[in-house]
Amino acid sequence: MSTDRLGVALLLIVAIFVTALLATACAPGPEPQGAAAPTVGAVEFQGTWNAAGTRRTIPLGGGRTSSIVELKGTMLLEGPGRPGVGFLAETIALVDSASGLSGRSVWTDENGDQVFSELVGEGTAAKNRISGTIVGGTGRFAGASGSYEFSWQYVIESEDGKIQGRAVELRGVVQNGPAEGARQ
């Protein structure tokens, strides 16, 4: 087999491999034991959030800084009764090294239904535990309530000013609102 033919054959194999890879990635995952349709009562969930975005920081003197952070990325959830397999989670936050973090977050699922939440946290590198309060939503999440917590495993800034973070130990509880309950 000539090198050219070998190259073509390998490219085809790789194309098939990558396609199969992505089909596997995007196929429905194994349902957690006991998974069921969303219930009216409070349900627990856990997961991860990988987010990319930007951070703009101004110095406030004496080592104090304040930043506007915008992050967007995939939140993948596990657990029986999880509100969804995953969401595109978008967050805008003001982080002050002295007074902590205050932010707002919107989660959007594959149908465009959204969950809204408010975030507070200490916002420092050493204490980055962030708490969220779910304050409502749209579609099947209309009237949802609940809370969640997470901390950053890392937030790293690249040379072009973009930041990327990975949140772990994301745990929470969500209760569907009256609209969802009525539909069931």
Binding site: T3, D4, L6, G7, V8, L10, L11, V14, A15, F17, V18, L21, L22, T24, A25, C26, A27, P28, G29, T48, N50, A52, G53, K72, G73, T74, L76, G84, V85, G86, F87, L88, A89, T108, D109, E110, G112, Q153, Y154, I156, S158, E159, D160, K162, Q164, R166, V168
Partner: protein
């Protein structure tokens, strides 16, 4: 006139895009992320099967995603102001000054006089030079800007031209050796590319402290083996078809003597180049932007008439490269920002449960490398996926140092898998010596060779030195 076969081939990417676009959106992804993925994968697929050149595929892709409202125009066109993309373009233009001034011919004759007994000798001189200077260059794109004029001058000095099917082979061989060398020399030194320190920070968050010395110790054996084998592998894949030239060094010495002393243009180019290189080396410590250094260098060459506006106008290939690179850079970045990359990574990694740790380790490395087909930046790939794969590997029982170093080294050597896999590749890919399909074919084969070396030789070595 297009043949039926070509028309069918050109229909395939559209069928791929439409087919994926209208599949149900996977749970947890937004329609925007899914549709962008459909268009991006069709664009890359079009080039892989030879349906369209990269420029054509990129133009159709960006127009589609903006006109369908998949992403905003601001996000779609953001690559045109990206500093890495601009650095590639400016470094390419500066390289023309090295050739035009005659400095390139002088460098070429010097290299042939020392290493010119065979194409392999020239290739080794380029690869080893790169390996030696790499630790001083935190930007491998800047390093490509240093190597490219030398490689181009050596190729042209040997009579190799891009437009001749036979004569382009030596140039193509040397270009691909240099391009692959940048990938593997970045794995050898922790400070040889900006993606490495990012990966080191992520590894530190997982509990592994890596310093310059510990990185070099772990990388030394597999990376040096890869560097030493590289010219032989490329010669096998793309034979330069130039016989041994035992008399070439003596002839080059004679020509070098006949050139006499350096001209004004050569001096200006040499000084400008040295100042630019110094700026790139000390960019971090001096707080300088590497792209701005290149702009200043180009400005000096224009002010001193070493380069003219006509010279710039003649570089049509540079515009082609700028257009497709900026578009693919932005689309790949948007795939990441819309969550597709981490979604795919997390979901793939979630299928790893129940495997033995060696199988988990090899599978994760192979997946990590393969998924680089979707990335146009090493740093973006490291930022988006290294932490995810490291986490899954460690939870699967792979020793932390082995998984971390395996992924860190892969983050460098996978850059050669596609011509757009690292911005440093683009300068060589745009030289015209290699066809796009050849770049993809050889990129894949060389990446597989690197992966085999790092898995077979690197794994036991890393286990030994990190015990």
């Amino acid at each position: 006139m297009k043949t039926t076969r070509m028309r069918v081939k050109q229909a395939v990417p559209f069928a791929i895009a439409i087919g994926i676009w209208f599949l149900p959106v996977p749970d947890g992804l937004t329609p925007q992320a899914w549709h962008l993925f459909a268009v991006f994968v069709a664009a890359i697929g079009a080039v892989l099967i030879g349906a369209f050149p990269l420029l054509t595929a990129a133009m159709i892709a960006v127009a589609t995603v903006v006109l369908t409202g998949t992403i905003t125009p601001a996000n779609a066109f953001s690559g045109f102001s990206n500093s890495s993309v601009l650095l590639v373009v400016i470094a390419f233009l500066v390289a023309q000054a090295v050739v035009k001034s005659g400095l390139g011919r002088r460098i070429s004759l010097f290299m042939v006089s020392r290493f010119g007994k065979s194409p392999l000798g020239l290739a080794y001189s380029i690869v080893l030079t790169d390996a030696a200077i790499a630790p001083a260059f935190p930007s491998n794109t800047a390093r490509a800007g240093v190597l490219f004029p030398i490689v181009l001058s050596v190729a042209q000095g040997a009579g190799s031209v891009p437009d001749d099917a036979e004569k382009r082979r030596l140039g193509g061989f040397l270009m691909f050796c240099a391009m692959s060398s940048l990938a593997v020399s970045s794995a050898l030194w922790m400070t040889a590319t900006s993606a490495n320190p990012i990966g080191v920070q992520i590894a530190r968050q997982s509990g592994l402290d890596i310093g310059f010395g510990s990185w070099l110790l772990a990388s030394s054996v597999p990376a040096l083996v890869a560097i030493l084998l590289l010219p032989l592998i490329v010669a096998k894949l793309f034979p330069p078809r130039v016989a041994e030239t035992p008399d070439a060094p003596a002839a080059a010495r004679r020509d070098l003597g006949a050139m006499g002393s350096m001209s004004r243009a050569e001096w200006i180019t040499a000084v400008t180049f040295v100042v630019m290189v110094a700026g790139w080396v000390f960019a971090d410590s001096l707080g300088l932007n590497v792209t701005s250094i290149a702009f200043m260098g180009l400005g000096v060459l224009l002010v001193t008439d070493v380069l003219s506006l006509r010279d710039i106008a003649e570089q049509g290939d540079t515009l082609t490269t700028f257009l497709w690179l900026a578009v693919l850079f932005a689309l790949s970045g948007q795939l990441n920002e819309l969550g597709f990359m981490s979604y795919a990574g997390e979901r793939l990694a979630s299928h790893m449960g129940g495997l033995s740790w060696p199988v988990t380790y090899v599978t994760l490395i192979a997946l990590y490398v393969a998924i680089h087909y979707l990335f146009v930046s090493q740093s973006s790939h490291v930022l988006a996926l290294l932490g995810v794969f490291l986490d899954v590997g460690v939870r699967g029982g792979v020793p932390l140092p082995l998984m971390a170093f395996g992924l860190l080294f892969a983050s460098s050597y996978f850059s050669v898998i596609t011509p757009q896999g690292g911005s440093q590749n683009i300068i060589f890919a745009a030289s015209g010596y290699l066809r796009q399909r050849e770049l993809y074919q050889m990129g894949l084969l060389v990446t597989l060779a690197f992966m085999a070396i790092f898995l077979l030789i690197g794994t036991p070595w890393v286990l030994l030195v990190t015990r």
